[in-house]
Symmetry: none
Subunit: 194 residues, 4 copies
DNA sequence: TATGAATGAGCTTTCATTCAT
DNA sequence: GATGAATGAAAGCTCATTCAT
């Protein structure tokens, strides 16, 4: 990758991050290309140099965050700790993303209502990939006797649902700190697996 | 209530149901007044005879379903069964609504991105009222020794999060039947409370 | 005229008066048929039993007031007083109408922007008829030596312009009472004629 | 001001002038954004690049003309001529604007029926500023003995009313030329002040 | 006569997208 | 690479008008 490409890639990521911020705050439809450009002190038109269209841009927002989450999780998966600890870590990571990235790590939004077909498949794929990590952790736990459930996928969906939901009510200035939340969730959700 | 009022009320509910259907399918922004009217073989203009504006109409969609869910749940709450059974029933009811009403019973969407302030408060109120029912069931279970957790609200939020999430993946033609899903969810989520 | 016709005529006048009130307050475009009907505790539809359309209704508003003003003025014209006194009376009457009927006696609005061609001619005719009364008073005053100007029509237009303009600034709670206004206007405008 | 700003400002003025023309012909409600755009061979949407909304655009129409009238008048006010001559000049200028700019210099329309509150205040302010110029001329005339009246504001309102009214009846192809009208009006209205 | 309901044309406004410069 | 300007399609909404009952 030459110098130019690197610069372009960086600019692209800048745009993605800004866009993610705005989309988080206002939602897909509430965030206009104008808003996103304004945040970057650019003009609308310039965005189209880097991204095909709004769909494409917002897709990359999701993709960036999701990829990053997957990478983070996969690193923990490799480490030599108990499945219970892996699960706890996974909860911690997920909560972190859910809170920090809000809308963009919003596994909650119906992508069908937002993305065109072209973008839908890759997003669903990546979501699946992310979910698989949880499945693997659970499977591993079952294999080594730490967990004992039969419906892995259902359990995983409950867990992810519970975690994603945090986004709906979490406030930085709320009663419980992020750490407390993570602990309670880890604790309770583990009961579900054991 | 005179004959006319009844007829009007019925028509209003018709409209609400149709609107709910469209909004479920296409999301708030994707569903146009035109779409909703077309479904009813009416013209856009006619909708405005019954509802102030789109916001008002969609608000009533949510209100109708949510009120209905609350009523259904409250009936079970009064009945003379164990807290565990009440919980199972609650899960069943919730899943039923989540699946049948889809978007309209979508406790998931950020209402901030959809409703104007005027409509936001009542919706949040009613959601809270709904959540309270779950809290009560849990509290009752704790009081009579069936459940033994300390963080009622956190547990309730995990549970509702898990249940709402079903909407994201449920397909009528999926592998698991609705009944199976309800059973597994009840089963697993109860572990969380015990 | 039979009983029915009388009743209908009365109702029509009721509607006209209400319409005039609303149109005065909100202007032609601001006043909706709904508004007018509401004031009368009727429904929109009913208005169409009495008047062809909005244009027709508002036309009759203007016509009613204008006719009434003409009649009032003509009575004074016949009376056996000096032209100066006639003029003073005319000013008084005009101010009264301008203030009380506001928009409806609004000789100011461009009828071209409000009425369709069909209604335009009769309105302009009646306005002309009204203006003629002022011309006659002035002519009479010239004939008997009280006034001494040559451009009767121009003078009349100045005078009516000045008087109509009162509508733009008059406030019931203003510094000057209606009577004071009439006196000052009579006084100053007479200088114009002498 | 850079080149771009100048170009934009020019375009804005172009739009304002076109809008003024249309609004003059059809009135505020009769003139659609489509009409205005068509006159400029633009599309509706483009207008919104330059102006917030219709209200904003029409406000600027009024503002432009009124500002221009104020400027023109103020120049005469400074010159070293008699108050009588100043008054004559003021009448001439006013008539010129009334005739040339029609609706846009329409001090006649009730701005309350047209503008939203936000725009109302500045318009009323500017109208007042314009009126003040007439008051000053009159006051000056009184001070130097050319005029002898006590009710300055009332006189000014009569005069402006009379002048504005010209708009209602003036036709370019009418019997009296613009110059004749100005002369007669100046002549007669001066009698009012002396 | 009067009403409730519906229509439909027309309006303002928004915004993703395009493109000459 | 970036901008200013423009487009055009679509949306929400209003309201005079109609008409069966």
């Amino acid at each position: 990758m030459g110098f130019k490409e690197i610069k372009t890639a960086k600019k692209k990521e800048d745009i993605i991050r800004s866009a993610a911020k705005i989309v988080s705050k206002k939602g897909y439809h509430g965030a206009t290309m104008e808003d996103i450009a304004a945040e970057l002190l650019m003009t609308k038109g310039a965005l189209y140099y880097y991204f095909e269209n709004k769909d494409d841009l917002v897709y990359h927002c999701h993709d960036l965050i999701l990829s990053s989450a997957i990478k983070t999780l996969e690193d923990y998966l490799k480490s030599n700790i108990s499945s219970t600890d892996k699960f706890k870590k996974a909860v911690e990571v997920h909560v972190e993303f859910v809170i920090a990235e809000k809308e963009t790590f919003n596994m909650i939004i119906k992508p069908q209502h937002t993305f065109t077909e072209k973008r839908l498949a890759p997003i669903l794929d990546k979501r699946q990939k992310y979910a698989n990590i949880f499945d693997e952790i659970i499977q591993q736990g079952i294999d080594n006797g730490e967990f004992k459930i039969t419906e892995i996928k259902m359990a995983r969906m409950m867990i992810l649902g519970a975690l994603n939901w945090i986004q709906q009510w979490y406030l930085p200035e709320g009663k419980k700190s992020k750490k407390e939340i993570v602990d309670i969730y880890s604790d309770y959700l583990l009961k579900l697996l054991k």
